[in-house]
Symmetry: C2
Subunit: 260 residues, 2 copies
């Protein structure tokens, strides 16, 4: 059984690039998913697995899942722990990592656009926030996610992992600006989430499909032009002293109110 | 104006220890708070600032806040960026860091115990989760936090920063076990948050003060003995596919439902 030992191998180097660079992911049409659970999620979601890296330890420990991933992967590559550490994005790697073709979600999206409840994200920068929001969106059965192209890359390894595989299953699309999306879809009622005690409280809003809630950047919120393009401004009423909530918490509470 | 350049200085070394070691914090009764906003929050909350480290750049950039912190600090120490990087816990340090005496919150806690809405955390391990939960708890005016002693250290620098200063303002107490706390406070109605579709939905529960919701470890949830000690089991109904929410999101949604 061949085990790859060289960190200078071209396959290792190109995988490291996919880990680090959004541009490399865009240009190659590939991204990485790391972890036993997330790799298995990719397979269950019929993702196109191009390469499957595993350490010998991980293979032995998770033999059944290893076999299933290996069966669908174009290529399975056993590597030493040192090589795995090179391609891994985590501090305590589990020893499974897949290179996957980026997903085509557009057609999926179009069929639900007249009846769904959506979340639109503008310039959300932190990959941990984005991953957590996707995870919440899936937990509460949001129909799909719209992202402006200045959001953090959805194929960032931290997003894929933090989403617990929701990236594979949630319909999403990336647009130039949220304003463009809203103008192109006037049938969808749009709500701008703002920190403004004069805006309508989320507890008083009827979220009737098709509708979309638009959420802005962690520090700066939404662009004023985006707020102006929305049907209505809404806010999370806060009783306490903190100026605002963590961005992914705020988004998750809004999702909760949209769906429940 | 003296600027400390040596990383080997005893003051620098003891501060690095406070950053890294919960034991060092416990034994010295000191912890660190980093960042312009968080250090200023400490001062506004009348925390006892023992040392205030600043770079010259940060002093010039935030002169007014520098002066206010410096006025209450026992000792103000200007350091080079290299020394600051040593004591700092962040990748892009803002150049302000305070060493602070741990807070006495017990008396504060006792006075509200008969009328408040509380959150109890059992074995919550991730400092980012704990910081985010404290931030949400303050935003929605939770009365206080109870933590089992096997939770991540509330004085961990990541918790202090992630809480956006809520650590300084929120009443909290640390107990041996949550079960002990519940037995000692039978007047407080207790709700065990579980992932169990048979438990009562949080949307159907009346959270009447005094009450406490108990939240468990990120991966394993609550101890069965803790669940058994609670008045009732409650759950967040999930319509979608994800198995569970991020721990800090789940806690925040429960807080939201407790308070609104």
């Amino acid at each position: 059984m061949f085990v790859l030992k060289s960190k200078d191998n071209a396959v290792v180097k190109s995988t490291v690039k996919l880990k680090k660079s959004a541009r490399a992911r865009r240009e190659s049409g590939l991204f990485i998913a790391e972890g036993v659970r997330v790799c298995y999620d990719a397979v269950l979601s019929n993702a196109n697995v191009v390469k499957f890296f595993s350490t010998e330890n991980a293979m032995e420990k998770h033999r059944e899942i290893f076999d299933k991933i290996s069966e669908v992967a174009d290529k399975t590559i056993l590597v030493t722990p040192a090589v795995f550490a090179q391609i891994s994005d985590t501090q305590s790697p589990q020893g499974f990592l897949c290179v996957i073709k980026t997903l085509d979600k557009i057609s999926q999206f179009d069929t639900i656009k007249n009846s769904g409840k959506f979340l639109a994200l503008e310039n959300v920068q932190d990959p941990n926030n984005l991953g957590t929001v996707l995870r919440s969106a899936e937990a509460f059965a949001i129909s799909g996610i719209i992202m402006s192209k200045d959001c953090c890359d959805i194929y960032n390894p931290k997003v894929v992992r933090g989403s617990m595989g929701a990236v594979f299953r949630l319909p999403f699309l990336i647009c130039d600006t949220i304003k463009d999306f809203l103008y192109a879809n006037p049938q969808i009622t749009s709500f701008a989430a703002v920190v403004d005690s004069n805006a309508e409280k989320i507890t008083d809003v009827q979220f009737v499909a098709p509708c979309v809630v638009v959420i802005g950047n962690e520090g700066n919120g939404l662009l004023q032009t985006t707020v102006d393009s929305c049907s209505q401004k809404i806010t999370i009423p806060m009783t306490g002293k903190a100026e605002s909530l963590n961005a992914s918490v705020a988004a998750s509470i809004i999702i909760w109110e949209m769906i429940k």
